[in-house]
């Protein structure tokens, strides 16, 4: 009986150790914050892997109120390659909240996502694996 308990305990410890060592780390998409002169942009990508992606964008003024604007323009580029892809525009789903879908980021590495709303412009670096 005692031996069974010990074996079970050892198995639990071994599994816990394996989980700690092998747990996949930080593939979760983090929100990225950037600020221009008047606005604050928070971009959350749907994925941090290369491929077709989509962005959730929340744009507020520096006081936290939703920004006014008809459409947001997203220009993805890859600085190391010197490679830019066609800009994508999106309208607000609610004030200050934009969903930019179907963004084809087909290469792993660091991208620079330029986001502009009227004259305000920020560049958000985004690392894809």
């Amino acid at each position: 009986m005692k031996r069974h308990v010990l074996v079970a305990l050892a198995a639990v410890i071994a599994v816990a150790g394996a989980v700690v060592v092998l747990w996949p780390r930080s593939v979760e998409a983090q929100p990225h914050l950037a600020e221009s002169g008047r606005l604050r942009f928070v971009l959350t990508p749907a994925s941090t892997r290369s491929g077709v992606n989509s962005f959730d964008l929340r744009i507020t003024d520096r006081a936290g109120n939703p920004a006014q604007g008809d459409e947001v323009v997203v220009e993805p580029a890859m600085p190391q390659m010197g490679h830019a892809i066609a800009p994508i525009t999106a309208g607000p789903s609610e004030p200050g909240h934009y969903r930019v879908g179907d963004v084809g980021l087909f290469m792993a590495g660091q991208w620079e996502i330029t986001v502009s709303l009227s004259a305000e412009r920020v560049v958000i670096p985004l690392l894809l694996t």
Partner: protein, 445 residues
């Protein structure tokens, strides 16, 4: 009982003995950033001192040079989502160091604004490396397991004690391997030198990327005059986007050399006023076509020389560089190393842009500097001196008087040469002309 006590003592001694070696090489956390800035009529060096703790103060020294008017500067430190911190620096009439303190509250990419000039910089995070964690983790685990084995042994379970003992051996193996290999593992690149700095990669510099070649495309330079200011527009040679990733190299973002039609040289350090836009004042400039060349280094490595020319609607008066030095030249034919040594009075030269001296070479001249095939920037290094700091700043006026330069002039002909050093917080520019003979015979090289 006596035996148990002996085992206990022995084990404790072993634990203390093996956990003692502390192998710490992870506390290297950035250094001072020196950036030369041609801000309006002033020639400044802005020194952002190493950030000791975060949140905490950042000491900023502003070094003024001779002829720099007294006045006030506003320093502003800002980062996305962080509180902005400002400080006022009052510049006196005498050239030298003036300081201000701003606050940073998090590691990551920051921007220091000095009036209208903006200097991006990185506040590094103190992160221990994975092999450091493996070393400490291995030894700590070994200690804990050894204690467990000891308990089993003391309570008369020597068979069970074998399990944690095996663990001790494994943990020590991990710790020792990591400790022995860690000196030979290259350190991770400073955040912001290869990839664009973000809060994420500054706080986790050991994040892996699949990128192996970090170099970036060449840059197009378009100079224009706006009033007295020379404005440089830098765009990416592949995507046409503004180039906003310049690294500080040789203590400046851009080393801009401007040569007037009559051969007057200025070595300026344009300020960043917008992404991809740099500007420098050409005060009392001469009228005509000026030859310009900008040295830049983009993130990812590699220095580029961008040459161009600009029409300046200036005045008709001609200014000349009036520095004086005794020059000893040993000129060899084209392709062989020529040595030019400038001697400046006493042993009182200051490092300028991290170097003892700079020599700009333009030639062979046929009419104008704009279409000279060769444009070079030669350095004279600071000799390592016992008792002196490795990278002295401008407050150390103890070098010289001899400033040697060696350069292999690639083509025969007449070259315009300027030698620049700093003395008494004044940049001394000594103009000269060098005639390089053609290589003799076929074995010239």
């Amino acid at each position: 009982m006596k035996r148990s006590a002996a085992i206990l003592l022995f084990t404790l001694g072993a634990i203390l003995g093996i956990t003692a070696p502390a192998l710490a090489d992870g506390d290297r956390i950035g250094g001072d950033v020196h950036v030369a800035q041609t801000l309006g009529d002033r020639d400044l060096t802005v020194i952002i001192r190493r950030v000791a703790e975060v949140p905490g103060p950042v000491h900023v020294d502003v070094v003024t040079h001779a002829g720099s008017p007294p006045g006030e500067l506003i320093l502003t430190a800002r980062a996305a989502g962080a509180a902005t911190s400002t400080a006022k620096v009052v510049l006196g009439a005498t050239p030298g160091f003036y300081s201000g303190v701003v606050e940073v509250d998090r590691p990551g990419p920051w921007e220091l604004a000095v009036d209208e000039a903006t200097i991006p910089f990185v506040v590094p995070a103190l992160v221990s490396s994975p092999w450091e964690n493996a070393t400490y983790g291995g030894f700590i685990a070994a200690g804990a397991l050894l204690f467990l084995a000891l308990l089993f042994a003391v309570f008369g379970k020597p068979g069970l004690a074998l399990v944690p003992t095996a663990g001790v051996i494994a943990a020590i193996a991990v710790g020792v391997t990591a400790a022995l290999l860690s000196p030979s593992i290259p350190p991770v690149a400073a955040p912001g030198t290869q990839l664009d700095p973000t809060f994420g990669n500054v706080n986790d510099p050991y994040q892996r990327t699949s990128t192996v070649d970090f170099s970036r495309p060449p840059v197009n330079l378009v100079p224009t005059m706006k009033g007295e200011d020379l404005v440089l527009s830098l765009t990416d040679g592949s995507s046409g986007r503004p180039v906003d990733d310049l690294l500080v190299h040789d203590s400046a973002f851009v080393h801009l050399v401007v040569v007037s039609p009559s051969g007057n040289l200025r070595h300026l350090h344009p300020i960043r006023t917008a992404p991809g836009e740099y500007r420098a004042r050409l005060s009392a400039a001469e009228q005509g076509t000026h030859a310009i060349a900008a040295e830049i280094a983009r993130r990812g490595g590699g220095v580029q020389l961008l040459r161009s020319s600009v029409e300046v609607p200036g005045t008709a008066t001609v200014q000349a560089n009036d520095g004086k030095a005794d020059l000893a030249t040993e000129i060899r034919e084209a392709g062989r190393p020529t040595t030019i040594t400038a001697r400046f009075g006493d042993r009182e030269l200051q490092p300028w842009l991290g170097m003892l001296g700079h020599m700009i070479v333009i030639g062979p001249i046929s009419g104008n500097a704009v279409n000279a095939p060769i444009w070079a920037h030669v350095h004279s290094m600071i000799p390592p001196t016992p008792g002196m700091p490795d990278r002295p700043d401008e407050s150390v006026a103890a070098y010289g008087p001899d400033v040697p330069f060696t350069y292999s002039f690639p083509l025969p002909g007449r070259y315009l040469v300027w030698i620049q050093v700093e003395r008494d917080y004044t940049i001394v520019t000594v103009p000269t002309v060098v005639d390089v003979p053609a290589a003799k015979g076929v074995s010239g090289r």
